[in-house]
Amino acid sequence: MKELRQIAVYGKGGIGKSTTCSNLSAALSNQGYRVLQIGCDPKADSTKNLVGDQKKLSVLEQLKLKKNAVLDDIVTKGFANTYCIEAGGPEPGFGCAGRGIITAMEIVEKLNVFQELDIDIVIYDVLGDVVCGGFAVPLRMSFAKEVYLVTSGETMALYAANNISKAIKRFGERSSVRLGGIICNQRNAYLEHEVVEKLADKISTQVISWIPRDNIVQECEMKNKTVVEGAPDSAQAKVYDDLASKIIANTNMVIPTPLDDEGFDLMIKQPLMMD
């Protein structure tokens, strides 16, 4: 049996997780892998640039409608034969989104999706932060073993990345969950390179990719496309293709060493104080 790789992508809200994930999925698919992307976010917008105009209900919307959803009800085939699932969730202010993720994952498991679709790589795109146990579910036993943190050089994004590595550490100590690296989705923040490198160093990991900020992302987004699909010859598409290759080849898997709040504060300020 081939080995299934399951990768979770975490990071601060709005940092570029979904953009990165869907471009990564598209690039991996182009490289010949069978990829499934699971959006673990009540917004259910993770795979929108892969599926284009196709409208399908999220797992939880399906659950609302009928008790026994089948595979076809929840899986959409997107660009380059990427498979896409959205967990979905409640409206803001109602119910329990964390419980929603748990239930959605249970359904995915029950439907035996990975085996049925003969998947090589699963990518979980998980909402902003590990806000409760529900959003840590992709990290628990039998789900994702590899985690990537998306951050920019902005303080709050770095803070979230450090925070999430606390959860990875906790799970890592009792299972094989590991941190594979930081993906820097650049915002051209002041001393961005220095401070992101610094964080990677402090938490004992690597920066696996520097993704430039480029308007081509928005241009493609306007057409509901990833850059890989909408501008395949662009430099940005090359970056995502590169990221895909690096992730495939990556063996640098660690239990991170997150900073405490004081240490984090110091790390943020130090590069700024150098001159």
Partner: protein
């Protein structure tokens, strides 16, 4: 006896009262959480229908709880729940609640509706109050709501007393308070979880006892109660409760809002406690009665003297009872029989929870005993082994070859003269029979 494990009950109560002892949140294992307390109280009312917003288990279990039934009877009333499922937990159950409220209101047009929540609803934070506020006034005015999720530490007592308070605020019509001609009548609040035939018996006995001081019963707070009866309670001169723990929230409200006082005497368990109980009521009502001159009282007093002699002055007794108010009753009972009580299995959290009773009886009233701080069967057996032929008050016989007074409060006479009489008779029987060589655990 391991001296490091003994303490005076009064010192323990005082330390707990002054918060010198760290006590974790603990829900009384005998009585469960606030959900149950509130459920019990609202269930007394025939004109209130209960709707539980949450998962259905808590409601369904109720039918089979032993406390909810007795011989040939189990709780077969209709209990309603919104029956939350996975979907409702994820997406929120508010719409389901609103639909259920409308449906309930339609099905039971003459009833008020009490909405309770259980843990699931509380965890996901459904805005129950908001849902009720959004309903039209005519429906809203029929609904009372209590947040009773037990996981957050709300105890059975929070449940009963808050339900009582809510009832008094919402349903009680205070207009007729004081409208009765002062004629020495009282409202009687029974203990909870009492069923027929014990209940009818107990009511009859207490009415007889109250007659000694020339007092009559106006209304009885009992199952099958309703808002009309509640209103009529206003005609009484005083409220009296058999259990000082149950209904206090209600009594407070009836006093604060309706001006009807209440007797705060301890539970009438044993002759002494019954006499003080009656005395307290008589005093509150300005009645001058010579209780000791009553024939039944003097006859029982002789009976008690005989038992006291049989026991032997200063004999040690070990009391194992975790529910605070009963513990105090049994200490008083042992003392009036000349025994020296050692109490075991005391839960500090139960004392804290019922502090108003402990403060009154122990700190102010001087009721005291030795506490042996253990709840482990082996340690208690060891203690019992060291004592010279003690009497053990315990619900089950864990002590083969020992004198065990196994007197369950449930389904037995305990209050008033008849209660004392039955308890004396049972204890006499224990002393007159060879102790059982079989216990619940071992055979020797």
């Amino acid at each position: 006896m391991d001296k490091s494990k003994t303490v005076k009950l009064s010192s323990l109560v005082s330390a707990i009262d002054k918060e010198l002892i760290e006590i974790g949140e603990c829900i009384d294992m005998h009585q469960f959480c606030a959900f149950w307390g509130a459920y019990d109280v609202f269930s007394y009312f025939d004109d209130i229908v209960l709707l539980v917003h949450g998962t259905s288990g808590c409601t369904a279990n109720r039918h089979f709880l032993s406390a909810m039934g007795h011989k040939d009877f189990c709780d077969s009333k209709t209990h309603l729940t919104t029956n939350m499922k996975e979907n409702d937990i994820i997406f929120g159950g508010e719409q389901k609640l609103i639909d259920a409220l409308n449906e309930t209101a339609e099905k039971y047009p003459d009833k008020n509706i009490a909405v309770l929540t259980n843990c699931c609803t509380d965890i996901i934070g459904d805005d129950v109050q908001g849902c009720i506020e959004s309903l039209p006034e005519e429906l809203r005015s029929r609904i009372v709501f209590m947040n009773t999720g037990g996981y957050s530490g709300k105890s059975y007592r929070d449940g009963t007393e808050n339900a009582f308070r809510l009832l008094a605020e919402k349903l009680y019509d205070f207009s007729c308070c004081g409208s009765g001609t002062p004629n020495k009548t009282v409202n009687l609040f029974l203990r909870r979880w009492i069923w027929d035939p014990s209940k009818t018996n107990e009511i009859k006995n207490i009415i007889n006892d109250l007659a000694i001081i020339g007092v009559e019963v106006n209304e009885i707070f009992d199952h099958g109660f309703n808002t009309e009866k509640l209103k009529k309670m206003g005609k009484a001169d005083l409220n009296v409760a058999l259990c000082p723990f149950f209904s206090r929230g209600f009594l407070d409200q009836l006093y604060n809002l309706g001006g009807i006082g209440y007797s705060d005497a301890a539970a009438p368990v044993g002759l002494d406690a019954t006499v003080s109980w009656l005395k307290n009521i008589a005093e509150k009502l300005g009645i001058d009665a010579d209780i000791m001159a009553d024939e039944r009282v003097s006859a029982l007093s002789l009976e008690r003297d005989r038992l006291r002699e049989k026991i032997g002055e200063g004999r040690k007794c070990v009391i194992w009872n975790q529910t605070g108010d009963r513990l105090l009753s049994l200490i008083g009972f042992a003392k009036e029989l000349g025994m020296k009580p050692i109490v075991v299995g005391v839960e500090p959290s139960a004392i804290r929870e019922k502090m108003h009773i402990f403060r009154k009886e122990v700190l102010e009233g001087g009721l005291d005993a030795t506490v042996y701080a253990s709840k482990y069967i082996d340690e208690i057996r060891e203690l019992v082994g060291e004592l010279d032929d003690p009497i053990i008050f315990c619900n089950d016989n864990y002590f083969s070859g020992k004198k065990v007074f196994r007197y369950r409060f449930a389904h037995n006479n305990i209050y008033g003269l008849e209660g004392a009489k039955s308890m004396y008779a049972e204890l006499t029987k224990v002393l007159d029979t060879e102790p059982n060589k079989y216990s619940l655990f071992l055979e020797e």
